[in-house]
Every structure is written in structure tokens, then in C-alpha cells.
């Protein structure tokens, strides 16, 4: 029992929660990216992947519920920590120079919240497929390929063909990468998995992986806006 109280009530415990949930979400972001990058392999690959996920409810639902709980915990801890941090300095400095504190580190709550709103939109857009939000005037639910599978490829190409949607996506991914550049580094720190001997390696890893995530995710809407997939779709 004491483990739970220590985790949920202490400052260090809450950072553990942040780190562990953050790590899980980071894992999801990577997995999701690898899945989505299959779009570049053509409609067959991505549609098969989509079908595989859709047809295994016993995998997807526990994963969805798990992710929701993790997100909830991550956000709860974030809000709690931020509130405590605000309360810890009731009178602000007239002049405050944060010196080395990176932009990412100082804007975690903001970047996190914007990413969260993006996720809501993203779920409505591609998962729940509410037609009103895709701005294309078409219905994503009814897209099927030759084999009768949901045509994920077409949905993505159509979805990202709207510049405004892609722009929002790119902004959100930028913020997510910024968030992760600090988050991944802090995660190791908060869990105590950092030592001087490999601190630099961790730093480089966090930066590298954030860039990878940024480039990976952003490559999809950019490619689509530049014309990728139009041909395949028109067939």
C-alpha cells in the first residue's frame, strides 16, 4: 500500500508516474510511427496492417484502454505537478532569466496540452472517423479497397490532402517532438537511470529520437501534399 501512497502523494513518486507513463506513450509513438510509415510501401502494406489491427479486437481494445489510462495518469500527474509548481512560487520575479533551462523544458505543459487536443482531433479524424472533421466532404468510414478491407491508404492520402489539416498535424508533431526531446531525457533522470558516465549518450539519444519522430511523422503529410499517393488512388 505504501508504495502507492509514496508514488501518488510524493513529488518524486509523481515524477515516477510521469516517467513511466511517458515511457509507455513514447513506446506507442514509436510503434505507431513504424506502423504508419508503411504507407510508403503502398496501399497493400498499410491496408493489411490496418486490417490486422482491426480484426484483432482482443489486442486492440486492451491496448486502447491501456493507452487511455496511461494518458489519463500522465495528464493527471502533469496537472498536479504544474499546480504544485505554480503554488511553490506565489510571487513572481520582476525579472527572471532562466539561463540554461531549454525552451522545451519550460513549455512542457503547453506542448503537452496542445498535443493532447491534437490527439482528440486525430482520434475523431482517423479512428472514429467523424466525417465533419476531415474537411474533405467525404466519408472515411466507407473507404474500402479491392479486397474489402478498410482503405487506410486512401484515408490517409485524402485526409492529408487538406493543407489546413496537414498544417495542424505538422505543428502538433513539432510540439510532440519538442515535448519528447525534454521528456525522454527527463524520463531517465526521474527514474534515476542516469549517471555521469553516460549522461551525454542519453542526451544524444533523446535529441536523436525526437528528430527521428519529427522527420518520420512529418514525412507523411509532406509527401502527400507533394503528390504522393494520388496516382495509386486514382487507379
Amino acid at each position: 500500500m505504501n508504495i502507492i501512497t509514496n508514488l501518488f502523494s510524493s513529488s518524486v513518486g509523481k515524477k515516477y508516474i510521469m516517467a513511466v507513463t511517458g515511457f509507455s506513450l513514447f513506446g506507442f509513438v514509436i510503434a505507431h510511427l513504424i506502423g504508419n510509415l508503411q504507407i510508403f510501401l503502398g496501399p497493400e502494406a498499410i491496408n493489411r496492417y490496418g486490417h490486422f489491427l482491426q480484426s484483432n479486437m482482443e489486442i486492440i481494445w486492451p491496448a486502447r484502454i491501456g493507452l487511455l489510462v496511461i494518458i489519463a495518469l500522465h495528464i493527471w500527474a502533469a496537472i498536479k505537478i504544474s499546480a504544485e509548481n505554480k503554488a511553490a512560487r506565489p510571487v513572481a520575479y520582476a525579472e527572471y532569466n532562466p539561463t540554461v533551462a531549454s525552451y522545451a523544458s519550460r513549455t512542457m505543459l503547453m506542448s503537452g496540452l496542445i498535443v493532447f487536443f491534437f490527439i482528440l482531433y486525430h482520434l475523431l479524424h482517423f479512428t472514429v472517423q467523424v466525417d465533419q472533421v476531415n474537411l474533405t466532404g467525404k466519408s472515411f468510414v466507407n473507404l474500402h479497397d479491392a479486397e474489402g478491407r478498410h482503405d487506410v491508404f486512401a484515408m490517409m492520402v485524402l485526409g492529408f490532402s487538406k493543407p489546413i489539416v496537414s498544417l495542424f498535424y505538422i505543428i502538433a508533431i513539432s510540439l510532440l517532438s519538442l515535448h519528447l526531446s525534454h521528456g525522454v531525457r527527463s524520463m531517465f533522470q526521474s527514474l534515476g537511470w542516469k549517471k555521469k558516465s553516460y549522461a551525454n549518450v542519453l542526451h544524444c539519444f533523446a535529441t536523436g529520437v525526437s528528430i527521428f519522430i519529427f522527420v518520420g511523422y512529418v514525412s507523411i503529410p509532406i509527401a502527400i501534399l507533394l503528390g504522393f499517393g494520388k496516382e495509386a488512388l486514382s487507379k
Partner: protein
């Protein structure tokens, strides 16, 4: 050289306080920052005004008493330096300098630039020690300690408890201070027997005092006059994790 100072003045803890502007004239580059304030204060007293209250004692960078935020940076931004060791040669004629007290809920302002940092003492009282009584200790050389461990412990123990880490942190977190003491004692064999109990109690005391959380911005390390490393916070987190995973520690804290 001549300077313009914008100084936080606050008569007592209940006063709202505000920034007041003063001129500091004929300042010599060899003066320390506090000697510059001494000059301003002598002038204020002679004019029948109240001098600016600020904390200082040893004025050689070790007691940790002096504490002010200069142009938004705790201790003034000279790396590894307390205000008392900051010299005016780092400023230019005509500069405007803003001087404020440490700002944190756990460090309430007593007067002007003087704050109450007793929260740090409460944290040490909660467990920042090795429980040995005077006398009856074994010979100092009975317990060989690897030089690297002793050196690392000393790196952490160098903390002067000034509170600049709290002042600089955007969250007013005391993690660097607490981690320095936890690490110092956890790195040495003498401190190991009660390491778990210590870290849990000190974190609890830290939280109760109203400090914020560490969000790893690194501001604390940057202003620390003893350049205590952020890695010690990782060490604290590791110690905390070990402690909560061991049921044993819970029994120890309960007593």
C-alpha cells in the same frame, strides 16, 4: 562607475513590497557586489533612510548566507560564484541592475532581500544525518572507502545550503539541495544502513515545506555556487525508487 539599482523593498513579511530605484555612484571594479550595496546603505543611513536589508556573513563564498537574484539570475550568473564573491568588474558603467530576494513559498521574505530558509533545516532534521552518537565509533581507517566514492560524496557534500537552486528553478524545487545530502550520505558506507529511511523522510519533509517538483530544466545546476551536478537528482530518484520497492523501509519510517 555609476549604476542604477532596482531593488525589492519590503518592510516585513506582511508588506506587499515593491521595486525601488537607487543610484550607486563611484563604484570601484574591485568591490564585491555586497560591498557595493554597503556603499549604497551607508549613503542611505546618512540620509536618514532605512538601509537595504540583505543577508551575508562569511563573505568568502562558503557559509551560504548571501542570497539575491540579480537581473533574474540567482547569485548573479557568474558560474560557481556566490553574490559575496561576485565582483563589480563584471558590470559596466551605466548598467541598470535589478535585485530581488529568493522567491519561493517555502522561503518567505522577512524583509527586503532577506528570506527565511529554515525549510532547509527542517529537511535535514527529518533525516539528513547518520544516526551515530558521540563516542564509541570505530577507528577512522577501519572502513576503507574507495577514493572515487569519497570524492563523489564530497562533490555532493560541498553544498552550502544557500537555496539558489530553489530560487533559480522555475518550479522553486529543492531537489538539488535534497539530492546533494541524500547522495553524499548514500555514497558512503556509513550512510547506507539508513539510506532508505533517509530518502523517504527527506522527500516527505521537502514536499511538506511547499517546494515545487523537479522538471529537469537544469537551472539549479547552472546557478549552484558549488556546481552540484544534476546527476545527484537522478541518484536521489534512484534511491527513492529502491526505498519504495523495499517493504523494509516502510517499517523503518513508521517508527
Amino acid at each position: 562607475m555609476n549604476l542604477t539599482l532596482k531593488v525589492w523593498r519590503q518592510k516585513n513579511p506582511n508588506d506587499a513590497g515593491g521595486i525601488v530605484t537607487y543610484d550607486a555612484n563611484d563604484i570601484i571594479p574591485d568591490m564585491s557586489f555586497l560591498e557595493m550595496l554597503d556603499v549604497v546603505n551607508e549613503d542611505l543611513i546618512s540620509r536618514g533612510e532605512e538601509p537595504i536589508a540583505f543577508d551575508s556573513d562569511c563573505r568568502e563564498g562558503i557559509c551560504g548566507t548571501c542570497s539575491m537574484v540579480i537581473d533574474g539570475i540567482a547569485h548573479g550568473g557568474q558560474r560557481g560564484t556566490t553574490v559575496c564573491q561576485l565582483h563589480m568588474r563584471h558590470f559596466n558603467d551605466g548598467d541598470t541592475i535589478t535585485i530581488e530576494p529568493w522567491r519561493a513559498k517555502a522561503f518567505p521574505v522577512i524583509k527586503d532581500l532577506v528570506t527565511d530558509r529554515s525549510a532547509f533545516d527542517r529537511i535535514i532534521e527529518s533525516g539528513g544525518f547518520v544516526s551515530v552518537n558521540t563516542g564509541g565509533t570505530p577507528d577512522g581507517n577501519t572502513l576503507p572507502i574507495p577514493k572515487v566514492d569519497a570524492d563523489e560524496a564530497m562533490d555532493a557534500a560541498a553544498c552550502i545550503g544557500c537555496g539558489a537552486c530553489v530560487a533559480a528553478c522555475k518550479n522553486a524545487s529543492a531537489m538539488l539541495f535534497v539530492s546533494a545530502k541524500v547522495s553524499h550520505l548514500a555514497l558512503l558506507p556509513q550512510g547506507k544502513p539508513e539510506a532508505e529511511r533517509r530518502v523517504l523522510k527527506m522527500v516527505k519533509a521537502m514536499d511538506e515545506a511547499g517546494f515545487g517538483n523537479c522538471t529537469v530544466t537544469g537551472s539549479c545546476e547552472a546557478v549552484c555556487p558549488k556546481e552540484i551536478s544534476l546527476d545527484f537528482i537522478a541518484k536521489l530518484n534512484r534511491e527513492f525508487g529502491k526505498a519504495i520497492l523495499k517493504n523494509r523501509a516502510e517499517r523503518q519510517v513508521a517508527d
